[in-house]
Each structure stands twice: as C-alpha cells, then as structure tokens.
C-alpha cells in the first residue's frame, strides 16, 4: 500500500498531525535524582554555615559532622559503638520476632487465641516502651538482658499484628483447595499459610526493623557504656552537636542498610509476585 500521508492525493494544507497526548503518569526510575537532591541539600547546608546564616552550634556544617565522623572511625569508637548496638538490635529483634511469629501464627489459625490475643495486643502495643524502662531494670537488671527486652517487646507486638493479618490475607480458596486434596493440617500450614503470609510478614519486618533501631536508643538509656544510641545520648548531654549529628548519620545509614537488605530479601523470596 502506498504511504497515504506522503501521496499527493491528500490535501496537504488540511493535513494535521495527531498530537501525542498520552505521556506522564507512569513512574519511571530516576536513579540520579535522589543523589543529586542529596548533594544539593548538603551543599546548601554547608553554604548557610559558611556564609554565617546558621551558627555552627545550632546547625554544625556537614564538614564538621564529617570531621566528627572521621574522628569516630579513626579512634575505633564507631566500630565499638556499632558493634554493641548491632548485637542488641540483632538479639532483641530476633527474640521479639520469634515470639511475635509464634503468637501471631497462633492467633492467625486458632480463633480462641485470636479472641484472647487481639484485645491484649491492643492494650499493650501502644504502651511507650520508654515508660517501662524502670520496670525492665527491675525485672532484667541493667545488663544486656534489659536492652534485649526493650527492643524485643517493641518488636513483638507489631510482629504479632503483621503475622496474623498476613495469615488472614492468604486467599481462603487455596486452603479449600488443599483440604479438598486431603492435605493434613501441618502441610497446609507449611505449604500454604506460611508462604502466603510471607509478603505481609516481610512488610512487618520492615516496620519492626525501624522500631528496633528507634528503640536501641531507649535501650541504651539503661547504663550502656557503648552503643550508637548511648553515643548519641551522650553527645546530646554534652551539647556536642557535631558529634550528635555524626551519630545520627550513622543511625540513618544503618536504617538505609537494613532497608536495602530487606528489599534484597523481598526480591529473593517474593519473585513469584
């Protein structure tokens, strides 16, 4: 067929190109945008200090924060503090998660457990763990146990909620299918409920990991010698604002790292979505 637009038969004067009007509204990846925004923000921040708009006491410039950070790396205190906090986060989070998984699973499959558990969780979840610290000290002492407990308790309740709602969200038709093929209870749990609940459970991990990070500061209020939370608290008490911000930076870097690891895990485990 001849090209209809470029044939002399059509009246070129009345010919109008159809205007494209379909763009936008679909997310695209802009890998450099975030970095550029970050860099711009830091430059602006440094600039305000250099020009003298912000006093270095109230807003230490990034260069001062960087120096403080470099100091922490050089004298080994960064690693010392990080190690102590990572251990607390690791153990506390694992304990809370293990407990939360067990209880959440029970509440997910047994309606009696659900009836007992839901009001209890609603009652205990909103209690600020910081308010309980004196009690934790009496129960668990001021050693590592009370720090694990602080983080563990904080992680436990959201995990319970995430797990039982995740189990609720597993399509019932899959369970009926399994029953219709005579799969025993345990096999249904292992092969259907748990993998089906995995996306919700992993989403819960994302939340509880942040909670653990927040609570490590509270936990390290309890007589911690080392720990990134203790470090930040001390810098605050001593009004060393550059050190304080350096500690905060380390914490957000930790948060980013944990988030990235979880994303990796999700991509690995949830390819089927």
């Amino acid at each position: 067929m001849p090209d209809p637009i470029n044939t002399p038969t059509s009246t070129q004067s009345t010919l109008q190109a159809v205007r494209f009007r379909g763009g936008g509204f679909h997310p695209r990846r802009h890998p450099w945008a975030a970095l550029a925004a970050f860099a711009l923000l830091i430059a602006l921040w440094e600039g305000t200090s250099r020009v003298g708009l912000a006093s270095p006491l109230f807003l230490p410039p990034p260069s001062a924060v960087g120096r403080a950070l470099a100091g922490m790396i050089a004298d080994g205190s960064l690693w010392l503090n990080l190690k102590a906090s990572l251990l607390r986060i690791g153990v506390g989070w694992s304990l809370g998660t293990l407990g939360g998984l067990t209880v959440g699973l029970l509440m997910g499959v047994a309606s009696v457990a659900r009836a007992v558990g839901v009001p209890l969780v609603s009652a205990f979840f909103p209690i600020p763990k910081i308010a309980l610290l004196p009690l934790f000290i009496l129960w668990f002492g001021i050693g590592e146990a009370s720090k694990f407990a602080t983080i563990g308790f904080g992680v436990f309740f959201p995990t319970v909620i995430a797990v039982y709602s995740a189990i609720d969200s597993v399509p019932r038709n899959l369970i009926r299918m399994a029953q219709s093929f005579g799969l025993p209870w345990g096999a249904i749990l292992r092969n259907i409920l748990l993998p089906g609940a995995l996306p919700g459970i992993l989403a819960g991990f994302r939340i509880t990991a942040s909670i653990a990070l927040i609570l490590v500061v509270a936990a390290e209020m309890i007589g911690a010698e080392y720990g990134i939370g203790a470090f930040v608290l001390m810098a605050g008490n001593l009004m060393q604002t550059d050190t304080l911000l350096a500690g905060v930076m380390v914490m957000s870097a930790l948060g980013l790292t944990i988030g990235a690891l979880l994303s990796l895990l999700e991509r690995r485990l949830l390819v089927w979505r």
């Binding site: 001021i142 209020m221 008490n237 001593l238």
Partner: protein, 346 residues
C-alpha cells in the same frame, strides 16, 4: 535558622505566658510604678528551689524596682536553659553546671556572671546512698565508693563531677569506679532497688525516700564531703555588650533577693544549727508556690547561696579541668574566659 528560631520563639512565648501567670499569682511586693518605662528581660529557670532567689526577686518586685520587666520561662531540664540563652530565646539563665554547659560556653555562647547555689557543709542536697547489700559488705563511708558501681544520670552531669571531686579528695579517679548512666532518677532508683548497682548519688528527697523504704543507707552528703559550685547565673556575651545596664540592674535585683534568701535560710547559730531568719515563712511560701512543692519538702532541701553571689572560682576552674581530663570539654577552653564577674565586683 531564622525560621527554626521563629517557631521556637512562639513556643517559648507560651512558656513565658506561664511564667507571667505565675508572677501575677506571686505578686505580693510593690506594684510597678509605670509599666511602659520598664526594660524587658527574660530569665530561664527550672522549677526547683535552687532557683529560689529568682522567684523571690520576681515575687517581691525587686526587678521592677530596678526598672526591669522580667519574664520567667520555666524549663524542664537543666540542659535546655543554657541552650535557650545561647539561642537568644531568653536573656538570662540559672542552672547547674554540667559538661554540656561548658561546651556551650566554650563556643562563646554564654558567660557566667554570678553564682547560684553551691554544695556547702551542713546543707544536705545530694547524698551518697548505698544499697543494703553493699552496706553490709562494707560500703560504709563515701571514701569506700572506690571500686564500686554507682548509678548516675548521664555522663557529663553534676553527679558525674561529684564522683570526680570525691575521688580527688580520697585519691581515686572516676576510672576506679564503674559509673552507670541511666538518664534519669526513676531509672537510677529502679537499678538501685533491683540491686544492679552498689550505690547512687541522689537528690535529698529521693535519698530520704530510699532510706524510708528500707532500700538503702545514706553514707554522707556531697556538701559535707566536697563543697563545690553547683550553679551559676549566666547570660549571652552579646547581652553584656549591647545591654550592659540591663545586666547590671538584673544582677542588683538578683543580689538583693540572694541576700534575703541567705539571711532567711542559710544562717547558723553558735552551735552550728540552722536558724530561721527574717521572713522565713513568706519566702518559703514563694518558693513552694513557684516549685509547686509542699513547703516542708522545700524546707528540707534548700541549698546554700553566697549572699554576695560570689562564685567559687577555684572550683569552676577545677570543673573545667576535670571535664577536659575526661575528654568531654574542649582542651583549649580557658575557664577564666567564660567568666565576667565585674557585675558582682568579685
């Protein structure tokens, strides 16, 4: 920064309102003659009896008499007061001296101009309290604290320093004890009652409560063992430069109240026992109202103040040296550079 400052100001104005209301409630002295001729000034305080002289100066109209309209801003932690002065949110501040305070001063943000309270023999403010178990095991006097686990609030706090000077007196350093920072007194008490530490340093009311509960034994008082400068009146260097007359008036009114406070609460008879001085009850009421405490409680923990607002300069120097040796305050800080005692003529 200006935006952050602006919002904080509005916040602070709320606190200031509370201060004004408080002042109105306390107004027993002469009324200001002509409000429009008064210079405005503000002072950051904690609702503790150590701020007593400020409450008295306000309630009895000594500031107005000097031609000042002073607003009280009440803060909840010692940390906030020097920060508020450094940021210019308030003109003056009175609180205890901590490593954080000296770090702000080292950055040129605040200058000490007069004394607040001090630890002094015969004035029980802070006690060394031993658990029953530690006591039974031989922890009987303050010098025994060497090698023990002691709960404090935070690193860089007044409690931290008190252990430091106790060590200076008995020949040990803070490295010889295990300090357990627990952020606040309730957690210290919990660790103490749970037997997690051998001793704590506690304010007098807490210490007496622990003894009353049968939880421990008081070994002694910091005032008896190691007298030291607990707190100071301070302002920003810029205020001194640009509003010197206001500072002079403020200090004069403060000193008047200080002398009155001293005469009422700090005078001893020949036997060394405290006697009630002139105006004792009225002043006690003022402080009790301002701190929202029962008068008996306030009376049991009234600190010593120097009637002329003189600072224990040697102790301030010692404090700075101590924090510097602990690595918590910049080594370059010269303690004299953060003092301006010209207003009290010291």
């Amino acid at each position: 920064m200006s935006i952050a400052r602006w919002t904080r100001r509005t916040l602070l104005q709320r606190t200031a309102f509370a201060g004004v209301a408080l002042a109105a409630a306390l107004a027993v002295g002469p009324q200001p003659v002509a409000a429009q001729t008064l210079d405005k000034a503000s002072v950051g305080v904690l609702a503790l009896s150590s701020s007593g002289p400020i409450f008295i100066a306000k309630a009895k109209g000594y500031f107005e008499r000097e031609g000042l309209d002073v607003t009280l801003s009440t803060f909840t932690s010692a940390q906030q007061v020097p920060v508020a002065v450094a940021s210019g949110d308030v003109d003056f501040g009175v609180t205890g001296l901590t490593a954080g305070f000296y770090n702000l001063a080292a950055k040129g943000a605040i200058t000490m101009i007069a004394a607040q309270s001090r630890d002094e023999p015969g004035f029980p403010l802070s006690a060394y309290v031993a658990t029953n178990a530690a006591h039974a095991a031989g922890l009987a006097k303050p010098s025994d604290l060497k090698g023990k686990r002691i709960a404090i609030t935070t690193v860089g706090s007044t409690f931290h320093y008190m252990i430091g000077i106790l060590g200076q007196k008995y020949g040990f350093t803070v490295k010889d004890v295990t300090m357990v920072p627990l952020q606040d007194v309730p957690k210290m008490v919990a660790a103490f009652k749970g037997g997690q530490v051998d001793a704590i340093l506690a304010p007098s009311t807490v210490a007496r409560q622990l003894v009353a509960d049968g939880a421990g034994q008081i070994l002694g008082w910091a005032g008896d063992e190691t007298p030291w400068q607990l707190g100071a009146l301070f302002t920003g260097p810029k205020t001194i430069q640009t509003r010197r007359p206001v500072v002079e008036k403020f200090v004069r009114a403060y000193k008047t109240a200080l002398a009155e406070y001293h005469a009422a609460f700090n005078v001893k008879d020949a036997s060394g026992a405290l006697v009630k001085g002139p105006g004792y009850d009225a002043l006690l009421t003022i402080i009790a109202d301002a701190t929202k405490q029962k008068p008996e409680i306030v009376a049991a923990g009234l600190p010593y103040v120097d009637p002329n607002a003189r600072l224990l300069i040697d102790d301030v120097v010692n404090q700075v040296r101590f924090w510097q040796s602990e690595g918590q305050v910049d080594k370059a800080l010269d303690p004299k550079s953060i003092l301006d005692l010209s207003f009290i003529g010291q």
